[in-house]
Structure formats: C-alpha cells, structure tokens
Symmetry: C2
Subunit: 143 residues, 2 copies
C-alpha cells in the first residue's frame, strides 16, 4: 500500500509518467478489501473520472503489474482480478457471492519446499486459492 508520492517515485524511476488516472486506479484498488476485476474497477472510477476508458484501466493495471506494485489473480473465472498487496499471501473465493478475499497468516513455505523436491522444478512463485461459503453468505442461508 503506497501513497501517491511513493507510487509517483516508482513510476518515474521506471520511466513512466505520473498521471491522475494512474494514481486513481492504484488508489481505488488499494482502497478495496476484496479484489476487483477490470469491470469493477472501471465502475468505481468512472463516476469520479467520467472520461476514464476501459483501455486505460487495462493499460494501467498492466503497468502497475510490470513495476511490481500490484499482483494479478485468477480464480478460474473468465476475467482477471487485481490486488494492491504484493506480499506473499493467498486468496479465498465465495462460491455463493463470488467475492475474493485475502487469506493472511497462512504459512506456505514448507509446502513450497516440499513441492520443489517432489517436482524437480525450481519454484519461483505460487498461488493458493480456496473456495467456500463466506461468513456473510452462511448467515443468509441460515436466515
């Protein structure tokens, strides 16, 4: 989670210009608890930036990913989701409402080591996705 000054510095350090759209896309993403796809991001941004286009959303998340300030998730849906937290953590999706939440505090290091020796691969990254019914949807079913 970076402030505008930090993000601006990183953009410039990588040869990208600082624009209101880029700051806005990052800020919108960083402000969300769950992880939006491009459409959700666009509909949050569009009211504040009426001229914002889908192309800009896509181009911007591509750049933010390249300079390593966001990560891209794919839970098996037809669209990608974005996450402003680049630290190692995992994700869980509700099979009822579709929301994607962070899953912090899960230690995956031992499993990665095990995977490395089992596979013979030199492992550089990993993504764990869990699927289930979120607390909110559990309540709804009960009521």
């Amino acid at each position: 989670m970076l402030d505008n000054q930090q993000l601006s510095d990183i953009l410039r350090a990588n040869g990208y210009k600082v624009t209101p759209q880029r700051l806005a896309v990052y800020d919108a993403l960083a402000a969300m608890k769950t992880h939006p796809n491009a459409e959700m991001l666009y509909s949050v941004l569009q009211p504040k930036y009426p001229s914002m286009s889908f192309a800009t959303v896509y181009k911007t998340v591509e750049i933010l990913h390249k300079i390593n300030v966001i990560q891209i998730l794919n839970t098996g849906e037809d669209s990608m989701r974005y996450d402003a937290d680049t630290s190692i953590h995992h994700h869980i999706q509700c099979i009822s409402c579709g929301r994607v939440d962070d899953l912090n505090g899960l230690d995956s290091l031992a499993l990665v080591k095990e995977a490395e020796s089992l596979s013979g691969y030199e492992i550089a990254g990993h993504q764990f996705y869990f699927f289930g019914v979120c607390p909110d949807c559990k309540k709804m079913v009960q009521n």
Copy 2:
C-alpha cells in the same frame, strides 16, 4: 482414469448419450501427462476425427466436468486447461515452456483446516498452483 465402459455408464446415468466424440475427448485427455487447453485437445483429436469441431471440444469438456470426470484448471493464462484426474492434487507450471504438470503427494489438508479457521469460510475446495522452471528447461539453460 476411466475406461470407455465406465465413462459410458456415467454418461448414461446422467442422461447424456454416448458418442464417439465424447469418448475420444476423454481418452485424449486421459492419455496426456500434461494438461492441455481446448486448442491442444483439438489439434490432437483433429487428425483422427477430421470432422471434429472446436464447439464439440468445448461442449464435451463442459459435460465431462458437469458429470465430474474431469476438472478444469486455470493458471492465470487466457485459456482454461483440463485434467482427467479428479482426485485432490495440485499443479505446477513452467514459466519457461508453459507446460502444466501434476504435483502429487503434497498434503494440503492441514493448510485447508488452517485456512478455514483463519477465514471464517466453510471451505469446499482448493487449488494450489506453483510456478517455476521445469527440469527440461533447467537443462536447456545449462547447455
């Protein structure tokens, strides 16, 4: 991994007819070690079934998934991959050549329990994806 007789029985039990295309799609998938997407499946099947169409490949994997004899993977690419092994296991993709392999023998049960208590979700499934350089590509880099 089912033989044609077993798959035929399951298809019929679910109200689907048995056709050469359905058996062929399943057999082709079950015969592969790595996990193909629709295009790879199509190009394997097309020589033997010249009239096979993409629509049939997609419709068939959808049915095979519905009757629970295959699973669908998505490593974050733009296309889905398919796996004829429906038992709980995980996957690893080579960041150099793109192949997706099985990762068997990884015990994820404890982590699922941990995720359940951390998230408050009622967890019904999970997918772990690892990314790295496969043994074949490691060799190539060295030579």
